[in-house]
């Protein structure tokens, strides 16, 4: 039984959900609107606490955040799937644009919302490799996979791998990889949640991550199963609106072309590059009262500038690794299973990419403004991953809007991480426990295993996030490289070459896995201060954020060579590929 159908069975068992009906939808709406009306003045008054860059409990942003999270849960309940068909074909009742919004919401995480601006703030043009990598991968995903994946008709990456390579062991390995990718991806999200909770609650990073982790776990257990498309569309609107409003304000306030900040900030980039004298615009200042000025800093915009410590090779390797990683991420691939037709799968990518690009065109604006507004040494060293919020604060944007921005960052992380935890828990309970370990498990037991898996994953992810191993964007990039070395070759060859057989898949997986293990072991060792042999060479060419540049080609070549040397793919699989996938 497909995982989605099983999830529906689980949902049906939740009494709370089964009791809700159309009448209660109306009641919910009656509750939400007065609640917002009541809270708004309180939030407006309390938002004054958002002025501080660090420290102090900020009640306004806290109320905004709680309101948004409650709204997500309520929307999830109101628009929940009424029956199996409704949930199974989530896209049937919505347009391609709506489906694209759901893809974008699923995709836009703390790495997009907070991490991208941080990467550009910290390393200038080098950060654009992440922007290009995370968007260019959708071209590969669309033209090489989207339609075919939908036609194949499986519901998880592990299902596809198990069926295409006719092996229960491969299914189990696929599930384990999906769990590892979910964990790796979630670590960056937890770090982002921790940072924003730190900003809102005024606690240290450790407690912020623990509290943030507990909140996201509770949120996931309550709403995780309600992740229907309608909720994702609303999440997208909240995330993108909270991200865009400060940009219009900043560009207007500092006298740039504010009608389209994504173009208007070109002059901000040039101002950072060629310098800006305070005498020219003496009336403009940051929230500290420092003049809006900066010494010429071409290192911000020039490619692979020596000042950033980044090279041409690293730019190319990151862009390539992220692109193939995008086309191999299980939770992204899974989005195509819930659309009714292959053509819908294709068009939803176009719209999804467009909605994602709105955010990706905008993120560099924060980093460019951040550079000028924090140029005075008195501002001090700022946490790069929180630069989006700091920029808005330094630009004296209204505290309520800064609070909304921070809440948008947490929402972006929540919307992705709850999906990842559910996907990881599904892989654990469905692909591993039910399909491999205990096929006779009762639905109650399955539900228990899914919950146990969610809690276990949250604990593991929180523990790793506490180690503070890197920037959010970099931590998420590890998941992309892992997916690029393992899942991507299996899908690419599995769809486009019937000659790829079980032995080839195992060989390719071992090769890609080996590259991944070497890179990650060296990365962890370095972080722990342990120097392993050839560490400089490995750290440079197989850095944890871009090892897929070589790992994926090695995995693909190994898969092909081993497949050619071993027994042919069974006729049933080849027949299925021709008759179902490529017709």
């Amino acid at each position: 039984m497909p995982i989605v159908l099983e999830l529906i069975t689980i949902i049906k068992r939740l009494e709370l959900l089964n009791k809700l009906n159309i009448k209660k939808k109306r009641n919910m709406k009656k509750i939400i609107l007065p609640l917002i009306a009541l809270l708004l003045p309180v939030v407006l008054h309390a938002a004054s606490g958002a002025n501080e860059l660090e420290g102090g409990f900020k009640i306004g942003p806290a109320i905004i955040l709680i309101t948004i999270l409650c709204a997500f849960v309520m929307v999830g309940i109101i628009f929940r799937a009424k029956d199996t068909t409704d949930f199974y074909a989530a896209g049937r009742s919505i347009s391609r644009i709506g489906s694209g919004m759901a893809i974008a919401s699923n995709w836009m995480s703390a790495a997009s919302f907070l991490g991208m601006a941080a990467l550009m703030y910290g390393s200038g043009y080098h950060g654009l490799a992440y922007v290009v990598g995370w968007t260019g991968g959708y071209v590969l995903l669309l033209i090489l996979m989207a339609g075919q994946i939908r036609k194949y008709g499986k519901y998880t990456a592990a299902d596809f791998i198990g069926d295409r390579y006719y092996s229960q062991s491969m299914r189990a390995v696929g599930a384990i990889i999906a769990i590892l990718i979910s964990i790796s991806y979630s670590v960056g999200q937890f770090a982002g949640i921790g940072l924003m909770f730190k900003w809102i609650l005024g606690l240290n990073f450790m407690w912020s991550v623990i509290i943030g982790g507990a909140v996201v776990l509770t949120y996931t257990l309550i709403s995780g199963m309600l992740g229907v498309t309608k909720n994702m569309q609303i999440q997208y609107v909240i995330i993108i609106v909270s991200f865009l409003i400060p940009l219009f304000i900043l560009t207007y306030k500092f006298d740039y072309f504010w009608i389209l900040p994504q173009i208007g900030y070109g002059s901000v980039v040039s101002d950072v590059t060629y310098g800006l004298s305070s005498s020219d615009i003496s009336q403009l200042a940051n929230s500290f009262g420092h003049g809006y000025a900066i010494t010429p800093s071409p290192e911000y915009s020039m490619p692979w500038d020596p000042a950033t410590g980044k090279t041409f090779f690293q730019w190319m390797a990151i862009a390539f690794s992220l692109m193939i990683g995008t086309a191999g991420l299980p939770h992204v691939i899974q989005r195509f299973y819930v659309v009714p037709k292959a053509s819908d799968a294709r068009w939803s990518v176009v719209w999804g990419l467009f909605f994602i690009c709105i955010l990706y065109w905008s993120a560099p604006v924060y980093s460019a403004f951040g550079k000028i507004l924090s140029a005075n040494p008195e501002v001090g060293k700022l946490s790069k991953d929180a630069i989006v919020v700091y920029t808005a604060q330094l630009g004296s944007v209204h505290p309520l809007i800064v609070g909304l921005l921070a809440a948008g960052g947490v929402s972006a992380a929540f919307s992705t991480v709850s999906g990842l935890l559910v996907a990881g828990a599904s892989a654990f309970s469905h692909d591993l426990y039910v399909k491999v370990i205990n096929p006779e498990a009762a639905p109650k037991k399955q539900l228990m295993m899914a919950r146990l898996g969610t809690i276990l994953m949250a604990i593991i992810v929180t523990s790793i996030a506490l180690l503070d191993l890197g920037l959010i964007g970099q931590l998420v990039a590890v998941a992309f490289s892992l997916a690029g070395c393992t899942i991507f070759p299996l899908f690419l060859l599995g769809i486009w070459w019937s000659g790829s057989n079980r032995q080839g898949a195992i060989g390719g997986l071992i090769a890609g896995g080996l590259v991944s293990i070497i890179s990650i072991v060296y990365f962890i060792a370095r972080k722990q201060g342990v120097i392993l042999p050839y560490h400089e060479f490995i750290s440079y060419y197989l850095e944890a954020w871009y090892f897929a540049w070589i790992g994926a080609p090695i995995a693909i070549v190994t898969n092909i060579v081993v497949s050619l040397l071993t027994k042919e793919t069974p006729i049933e699989i080849r027949k299925f590929l021709i008759e179902k996938v490529h017709t």
């Binding site: 669309l142 900066i294 294709r346 990419l353 005075n376």
Partner: protein, 249 residues
């Protein structure tokens, strides 16, 4: 056996007209994608030239004498201004800033006359004492002492008070660095000046487009538009082909 051989899928050896059309479309789009992303950056790499900022050329002209401690007043002034220029840059590290601060402080002391030295020391001591006590940069005492120190050092270095360098100068003066420019810090300064003032530039980076340096616009804005256009073109092409041959998905 013969029939079994018919059941074989290979992207590069399509067996049907539809598969051939799809392969050609995919190859075209991937070629455009690859050339636009990687081809452009190879081009950027091929035509770039490491270009020093004018301040680095000035620094290199005086550095030898400053290092040998036989620099003229004008040379020390140039040294102070160029190191201050780098101290105001965006990616500077804490260690490098400390070394540059030592260089700037030492140079200011060398340039000051005896009266200025006395007032500089007093103003600096007052500023550092207040700065230690106050974490808030808007504190009135802090602002006043910074202004007082700023007026002295700006005069010594002949800086326009409203310039960016004049704004950051009082923050880069440290009493611990007034008397000696240490050998260790000299080494750091020597290394970080070219690091921060040589940039990979070309016609693609120096041309402006919609306010952006062209290469920045191309990567941050245009490539994303291109990706959407490629996806759109693929969907239209597949839909049109399916319609033409009467395939309903």
């Amino acid at each position: 056996m013969n029939q079994e051989n018919n059941y074989h899928i290979s992207f590069f050896r399509p067996t049907t007209q539809r598969a051939k059309t799809n392969r050609n479309t995919v190859l075209w789009l991937i070629s455009i994608w690859a050339v636009a992303v990687f081809g452009f950056h190879f081009l950027l790499r091929a035509i770039e030239k490491p270009t020093p900022e004018p301040e680095l050329i000035s620094f290199n002209e005086v550095w030898k004498d400053v290092k040998a401690e036989n620099a003229s007043v004008e040379e020390i002034r140039i040294f102070a201004k160029t190191t201050l220029h780098v101290a105001g840059k965006v990616f500077i590290t804490t260690e490098e800033r400390a070394a540059l601060d030592n260089g700037i402080s030492w140079a200011i002391m060398q340039l000051a006359d005896s009266m200025q030295k006395l007032s500089l020391k007093d103003a600096l001591q007052e500023f550092e004492t207040i700065a230690e006590k106050n974490l808030v940069v808007t504190n009135e005492d802090y602002v006043a002492s910074k202004k007082k120190l700023g007026a002295i050092v700006q005069q010594i270095l002949n800086l326009n008070p409203s310039s960016v360098l004049a704004t950051i100068l009082p923050l880069e003066i440290k009493s611990s660095g007034l008397s000696v420019l240490s050998v260790e810090n000299m080494t750091i300064i020597e290394a970080c000046m070219p690091k921060y003032m040589i940039h990979n530039r070309s016609v693609l980076t120096d041309t402006k487009f919609l306010g952006f340096p062209f290469h920045y616009f191309y990567t941050a804005v245009f490539l994303l538009i291109l990706f959407i256009a490629l996806c759109y073109a693929y969907c239209v092409r597949v839909d049109n082909y399916n319609k033409k041959v009467g395939i309903a998905e």
